[in-house]
Each structure stands twice: as structure tokens, then as C-alpha cells.
Symmetry: C2
């Protein structure tokens, strides 16, 4: 998907909501568990009920891998369902992969070609040759972990680093962003920046004023949508704000899809006010 | 698996060889491609031919994910085959995962519980709460990326970091190792250190004199087994040296398993000289 199409979609819907598809059998409505493929059935009903209020879906790979072959099947069916029925929605494989070149190439093939996701989240620790294979695929996007929403972000991402060649001191997450701009096809990069990290959002925007940011951590994790918008929004919006649990598990009853839609609509209305 | 059992296995076999199971249909003997499950068949024959010369197997997830459901099936069959027939061999899910706590928990379940791998490789970028869920599973091991063998390792891992609380300057990989020692169940940690990084192996051993290191990069990537052993070996060996392509694709003919065994035996003999 071209970025301009995503921006257009955001303007039309007045929403920059991304819904995380993290299916958890323990939290799902019990009446679905007897169906042949409860995970796909859950996703399908959530997608059908919420698609008017969001512009992106982000299945989290761990929640599928935890269910072995059945989970993998549900993932394949889910992305195929999205691509067939809602091709305007931006899709994100939340996989946080990253490995030596020939291995990253295989991951890129799996997610961006075979399953045809629009994008994938990637971890930066292994550097240039672990990320460029993802960037080499045309019309696809690589969402690099920069500053995550969790507690552990402090341990490394927020440490100061000294670059002796450039004689400058930066936080690790700033060095990651700055370095990533030198990679081939860097214009296909987006960045993960947690909603709990608004203190540092200005620094992120200084480095990448035009890039899209994928922002998790609004809701359950305590981030503020207002702050994210005030500091993070740019002239083409430049934000995808994710919510998972707050939408998916709004109800455990037969009305779960309707309850999810209500939650998504509430967030969409909040977002519309900032557009 | 207990570490002492791995050490015993190494001493008995006079080998600390780990074989990377990275099945690539383009490099495999063509006569296997007509079989119902060529990836599993390839792995099975490689395992049966090489098990006497190695103490560990490391399937690389990307090479299975690139083949969708069929790949996933081959992975499940491969780990089940290893656990059933060669339970003394240490198994490594080379997955390089790492995410917020509830997600890492799902990955830990998938690899260490459901598939019953002995260990998994994990990326450190997201810090403590992204790794501890893996460490919480008893009798399993977490192999943390420290200093990888690829070119991109220079970009972040080898940068200097300043910790203002401790008032000390360290490379990022040293800070990762040092910090990891404060995590719960840190005694279940091992570390990835590339064979191309022997310049820094002394620094690694200073921080973790007793830990096991998983060392890729001997062979195709140019690392020296001699240097790795001289600097990296400790009193319980503490090394698993990986080779993948050099063994798997020694021949593309019907003799591929025999050729792989020959390559594995050559490495085992080299290793025996250092024990």
C-alpha cells in the first residue's frame, strides 16, 4: 500500500486507529470455543464489526504461534480475509523479527510476500543487514522498534550512547532512528514509539518529521491519546494508534463484536476531534 | 535439559558442534523435492547422519515460516523427531523473539512448552520484561543476542554507551550482558557471540566467565575456531559452535547426508583437539 492511500483513508474515516488482533482463548467468548476454528471466527467477527472505525489491523504473531498449526492456519485465514474483504486497511504483521541477511530475507518472504501483509515490525539490534531485506520489497513498509511502551525500554533504549566518529551523545533509540535513515529504501520505514513515552516524542519527531509512527500503549498501558496527538501528529497525520485488549475483550458475551465496535467507535470519535 | 548434562554430552562426544537446520529448497538435493514433506525428510536424513558428531541442533524459524503451513508442519515434526530419537541433544529454537511481557509469554509457551525446545534465541532491545517470561520456564534456557556475527553488529552493538548512574562507559553488547545478570533466573541465560568477534570475546568472558556461548560464524562467515576456543573456552567448555550451510549443503546429490556427516566429523575432530 502507498502511504498516500493510507493518509487518504485516515482523512476519510477520521480515524488513525489500528486494532491489534491478539486472540487469547482464555479471554474470548466461550461460545466460540466449540467452533472448528475459534481464533479465525473471533477475528472475523471483530473485523466485520470494527472496520468502519479503524484504518489498520495488527495481528500479533505470538498469539497465533502459541496455538501451533491451528494458530498458523487462523493467521493465514485472517490475513487472507483482510486482503480480500478490506483491501484499504493497512495490515501489520507484529512479528518483531530481525536476523542475519539471508534469514531476514526468508522472514520478509514469509510475511510481506507469501502472506502479503503491508508491513512488519522489526527489531533493530542486529543493524543494517538485518533490516534491509525487509526494505527491499517494493510497496511494503518496515516498522522499526525505536522506543517501546514497556518498562524494559529504560534498560537500553533510553541509555545514552556516544558515537566517537560523530562526537555526539544520543539515546540508543535516537541513534537507531538516525542510523536507520542511512539504510537503503529508508523512505519505507515507520517507527514504533510507545504512547507512554511522550516525553521523548519531540525528539523522535525532530529526527523523522515525516515518518509514520505506530503507537501502542494507549489504554491498558496508560498512554494519553491527547499528548500523542499534540506532539506526534504531522501534516499527513503520521500516526497509527493501536488498541488491542480494550477493544477485543470489551465483552465476553455473545455481544462481544458489538461491544468491540462500541469501544472502537469511542476511540475513533476521540481521534476525529484531533483531525 | 540441565547444563551439566550438556557438558557431559560434550565431553563424551568430544564435540561442541551445533548444527543449524536451515532447510532451503533451492539448495536441497532435487530428488527430495517430490516427497510429501521434503523439508522434514531433509532434516531427518541430516540428523540421522550427523548426530554422532554434534551435541545440539538449531532450527532457524525463518526457513520454516517462509513455507507457510507446510514449513510449520515440518518444524513440528523435526523437533518431535529430535526429542523422541535424540533426547540428549540440546535443541535451540533460533527465533530471535522478544516483545512486551504478555506477548513474550506466548512465545515462550509456543517454543519451550508446546514444541518443547530446550532453548530459544531472544533479542534484548526491549529489556527485562521482554526476556523474563522466557527465563521463568524451569529447566529451559534463553540465549540472548549479545554480539552477533554480521556486519550490522557495528551499528549499535559495538557503540559506546554511558550509564550515568553507574558512571561507566561500555559497549552496548557489554551493557546488555551486564544488565541481563540482574534479571530473575539469570543462571538460565546463554549468549550469542559471533565467531567473527573474537576481538571482544575476552570482554564477554570477563562478564560471564561461566555462561555458555552460542557461536555462529565459523565457516561461511569467516570466524576462526582456534581463536574462539583459545579465548572463549571455560572449565565446563562453555561453547556451542554452530555450522549450518557448510554441513547441510556439502553435496546436492543423493549422497547429501553422507557428505554432511563428513563435514560434521571434520569439525568434530578439530574440536576434539581443543578439549
Amino acid at each position: 500500500m502507498e502511504i498516500q492511500d493510507l493518509v487518504q483513508h485516515i482523512r476519510t474515516k477520521k480515524s488513525f486507529l489500528c486494532i491489534g488482533l491478539d486472540p487469547d482463548l482464555d479471554k474470548m467468548p466461550p461460545h466460540l470455543l466449540d467452533l472448528p476454528n475459534p481464533i479465525f471466527e473471533f477475528n472475523k467477527q471483530i473485523i466485520d464489526a470494527t472496520h468502519s472505525f479503524c484504518v489498520a489491523y495488527k495481528p500479533n504473531m505470538a498469539f497465533y504461534e502459541a496455538h501451533g498449526l491451528e494458530g498458523h492456519q487462523a493467521l493465514i485465514k485472517t490475513i487472507a480475509y483482510l486482503n480480500e474483504n478490506y483491501p484499504n486497511h493497512f495490515t501489520i504483521a507484529d512479528a518483531k523479527r530481525g536476523d542475519i541477511g539471508n534469514t531476514s530475507k526468508m522472514y520478509a518472504k514469509a510475511f510481506l510476500e507469501n502472506m502479503d501483509f503491508d508491513s512488519i515490525t522489526v527489531a533493530p539490534y542486529m543493524g543494517i543487514d538485518s533490516v534491509e531485506p525487509f526494505l527491499s520489497i517494493e510497496n511494503k513498509h518496515t516498522i522499526l522498534l525505536a522506543l517501546t511502551s514497556n518498562k524494559g525500554a529504560e534498560e537500553f533504549q533510553l541509555k545514552q550512547m556516544y558515537d566517537k566518529y560523530k562526537q555526539e551523545t544520543l539515546h540508543l533509540f535516537e541513534m537507531v532512528i538516525k542510523t536507520s535513515l542511512t539504510w537503503k529504501n529508508a523512505d519505507q520505514l515507520m517507527y514504533v514509539v510507545g504512547a507512554t513515552q511522550t516525553n521523548h516524542l519531540k525528539a523522535v519527531r525532530k529526527l523523522v518529521p515525516n515518518a509514520f509512527l505506530l503507537v501502542p500503549g494507549v489504554g491498558a498501558q496508560g498512554g494519553s491519546l491527547k499528548e500523542v496527538c499534540e506532539i506526534g501528529m504531522n501534516n499527513r497525520i503520521g500516526l497509527l494508534v493501536n488498541s488491542s485488549r480494550g477493544i477485543l475483550y470489551a465483552s465476553k458475551g455473545k455481544d462481544f463484536a458489538k461491544a468491540a465496535a462500541n469501544q472502537a467507535q469511542l476511540l475513533q470519535k476521540e481521534m476525529a476531534a484531533f483531525l
